[in-house]
Structures are given as structure tokens and as C-alpha cells.
Symmetry: C2
Subunit: 268 residues, 2 copies
């Protein structure tokens, strides 16, 4: 195991206009499968590179197939290059098979902006970084989670019952996330952060793979250096599908990203 | 003004494989601009028709340009036709210009399914249908809203302060929605329902147009006949953008759809 920076794990090489290659790192996987947010960050890197705006502010991905940790091709098309925002489509293929297709809106986030109104945000109480407990690189049911050797994901002790077979039942997980080498979370890393915690459904019942069908992230602000604080909760399990909503705050307490996803689950 | 059923207002004609035309109805507009959920429903109709599965369960749209209430072309590509779910891309163009591009996951919703776990859902108290007040076809700042002559959108009196210049400040709107002729909300109509209420930001400050940048909807179950109950709330205004989250329950109290959107706003 060697530590691979997020910016290296999601690095792309430009092949020609709108075409890139990258390598899905085996070190950034869960049970051998790449994290969906990590794949979205690779697509977002291509979109930000191909378009006229620097930052992804909205990303929506539909997941078709999980790529192997190996080489992938990425194709980007600029749908509209606007003055204040642009829209792009990016696709990840492996051996010619489409794995993920995503739409992006990009813009330039203003480092000087401040929240105008935030009364609608949840205000979960999350233990401090030093009081949270680092997730080991193996799930409660024994699946290896290589990515947890890369990132430092610390969970609030209040929600750790699931690890000993006593889930809280409230469908929420919370804690902190730091990147390897304590890299600052740029907007692409925030796409990953919004999918980095264990499934919130572990706080209901621990199951196997919870494959993401759709994942939407909004990046709301540039994050301060340092780890981010995350609260992720499930709302409804119906028809063997679950939604999860995630909020990411930077170290200063500013909401920097939020997401929603729909995933399959073997419950119900 | 004549009453146009939702299924007629969103009707498409198939031109060839994966190609459709439709007509954006001037009667389904706000200040002359079509509702974003209505446009998504037209795209979803094309996606459900072109693919092997009957129901849209996840839809993600990025909005590039607002089409005029006139003829539009829709192109659909099946990205993956799976056993239990499929993914498709649909695009709406007007006079050759791309207006909306969206990704869909489709499946077959089981009319017999039941919610397995719903403890994570919000439980807003919303007044009964007969105690809610129908929205007039003109906004508080005088913009004509033709669509409110079509649908019957009733707001809870508890949140109506904005109409007289006294917004509640909590960023939430709630009420009920019925379609013309009391048509049952099928999954396509639910895509519209999740964007049908006035902006939740009206409960903060009444502004002009709040243009949607991104809109994601999950359809969670088939709705019972009759009107649906809706709660929509804003969480954060930052950098002249606001997110809004919406929940749609059918008459029996079952959550049938949920959505999130990112929109531009002239505040902050």
C-alpha cells in the first residue's frame, strides 16, 4: 500500500480535443470496486478542462457498469459555453463499454462570496475530529476497503453501533474526511467527499454492496484547507431502492457541497 | 383559456427511432416560460417510450436555454438496456438549439411494493386540501402564471404570508397539486409535480425568475389517484444560487417522488 494523492488518483491525460484517458486506482476501491464519487470526480476533471469555466457547480451521473480498476477513456462534449456558466456531458468508457455518463454545469466560484441565507440547512451535532474513530480498511462483514487506507475517514462514535451489529436505526452516518497528504478539497474532491462515507443504510441494517444508480452533487463554495465534516442520511427504502442525502462542511463550518443519490439495496 | 390535460400537454409524436416532436404549451408557462418539470416530463415520456422499461425512476436535467412555447424536437439514445433497469439520454432542441439535456434511469415500478423503512423522511404538517388556498394565475409581483389556470395548486395558509409581503423567512412552501381533469399522477406527471410549487425562496424574499440550472427527481412509487401533497424547501443561498428540495406524497400519505434542484437567484 502506497499513499496516492487524490489529484494523482484522478489525474487524466488529454489525448485530443474532448478525449482523455485515466487510470482507476485499485487503491481507491471498496471491495475491488471504485467509489462512485471518485469516478464522478474524474469525469468532472475532464469537464472542467474541456470547458471555459473552472469549477464544477452541479454534476449528475447515471451509473451503468462499474469499471475495473484499470485504464478508462473519457469523452467530453461542451453542450453550451455561456458567460457565467457552461454545460457539458462527460462519459467514462472501459474497453469501449459505457460505464458512467454525467452532465455538468460549470462556473467560476468566487472565493470572496459568503452565504446569504442558510436557515434551511440541517444542523447535526458531529463530534470533533479528534473524538471520531478512523474507519478500518475492512467492513463489518469483512469486505476489504482499500480506499480507507488512502483517505482518513473518521466516524462519530455516536453512530458506530453498526460496526458491532447494533445499528442506531436512524439511517444517518456522520464524521470527518481528510485526503491523503491532507490535500485541500477542491470542487472535484468535493464530488468525491459527497460519496465517501459508508452507506447511511448501515445505520439501519448492514447489507452488501449498495450500488449507486444516480448521484447528483452541488458544489456550493470553495472549501478552506483541511478535513471536511460530513453528514449523510437515508430517507426512504422502497422497492429495493434507497435515497441518501449528504452535506459537506469545511473546517470553518461553511457548507461546501451537498448531494443526493438513489441506490439499489437488498432490503424490502 | 382552455383546460389541457397533462398527458395532452406533454404528448409527443414519434418521427423515427429515438426521434420525437412535441409542442410546449403556452398554457403551461410561468411568465411565458415553460416550467422545468414539465419539460423534463416531455423528455421522460420520450425516454420511457424509447427504452425497454415503463417508468422513469431517476431523472437528472441540466437546463441550457428556456424554449419558447412552440414546437420542440426530442432525441433519445438508449445508453444501456438492462434487465431490471435501463439508462437513457434525452435532449430537447428548438430550431436546432439544445434547450435541455437529461439522463434517465427507467425500471418497472411494482404496484404491490410497500415502503420498507421511511424513518428518514421529513414529516411536515400540511393543511388539508379543503383548507388550502388556490394560487391565482398571477404572482405577487404581477407576473402572469398561465399554468395555474391549468393545474389546481393550493397552498397552506400557514405559508401564504409572502403573497402579502410578509414571507415566513423559513424558506418552505407547502400545499397540494391536482392535474386538469383530476388526472392521476403517473411517474411522468410526478416529474412535473416535483417542480410545480412556487419557489420556496418566496418564503424568504419574493424575487423575479429563479431559473433552474439542474433538477434531479427520483420517482419512488406509483401514486394513488387524486391530488398530491407537496413540501418544498430551500436550504442555502450562496453565490447567487439556491438549492431546493421537494417531497411529493400521494393522497394515501405515501412518498411517491422527491427532488432537488439548483437555481440562480438575484439575492446575495
Amino acid at each position: 500500500m502506497s499513499l496516492i494523492a487524490f489529484s494523482d488518483a484522478s489525474e487524466l491525460a488529454a489525448i485530443s480535443s474532448g478525449r482523455y484517458t485515466g487510470n482507476v486506482s485499485a487503491e481507491w476501491t471498496i471491495g475491488g470496486r471504485p467509489n462512485g464519487g471518485y469516478l464522478l470526480a474524474m469525469l468532472g476533471r475532464a469537464a472542467a478542462d474541456a470547458g471555459p469555466h473552472e469549477h464544477v457547480i452541479a454534476a449528475s451521473a447515471h451509473y451503468l457498469r462499474s469499471p475495473d480498476p484499470a485504464s478508462v477513456d473519457i469523452e467530453v462534449e461542451v453542450l453550451r459555453a455561456g458567460r457565467s456558466a457552461s454545460q457539458l456531458r462527460a462519459r467514462m468508457l472501459q474497453e469501449g463499454q459505457l460505464c458512467v455518463e454525467a452532465l455538468f454545469t460549470t462556473s467560476n466560484l468566487d472565493p470572496e462570496s459568503k452565504a446569504y441565507w442558510d436557515r434551511g440547512l440541517p444542523t447535526p451535532e458531529i463530534a470533533d475530529w479528534e473524538d471520531c474513530i478512523r474507519i478500518p480498511a475492512r467492513t463489518p462483514i469483512g469486505v476489504p476497503v482499500a480506499i480507507m487506507e488512502q483517505v482518513e475517514c473518521r466516524l462519530d462514535p455516536a453512530i458506530l453501533g453498526f460496526a458491532s451489529g447494533h445499528p442506531s436505526g436512524d439511517g444517518a452516518v456522520q464524521g470527518w474526511l481528510a485526503l491523503p497528504y491532507d490535500e485541500t478539497f477542491d470542487p472535484l474532491a468535493l464530488l468525491f467527499a459527497a460519496d465517501a462515507l459508508p452507506p447511511a443504510t448501515f445505520a439501519i441494517e448492514v447489507t452488501g454492496w449498495v450500488p449507486t444508480l444516480e448521484f447528483t452533487v452541488y458544489v456550493r463554495a470553495l472549501a478552506a484547507p483541511g478535513p471536511v465534516r460530513i453528514w449523510q442520511h437515508a430517507q426512504l427504502i422502497d422497492g429495493q431502492r434507497v435515497d441518501e442525502t449528504c452535506f459537506v462542511w469545511d473546517r470553518t463550518g461553511r457548507l461546501v457541497a451537498q448531494s443526493t443519490q438513489l441506490a439499489g439495496i437488498r432490503l424490502g
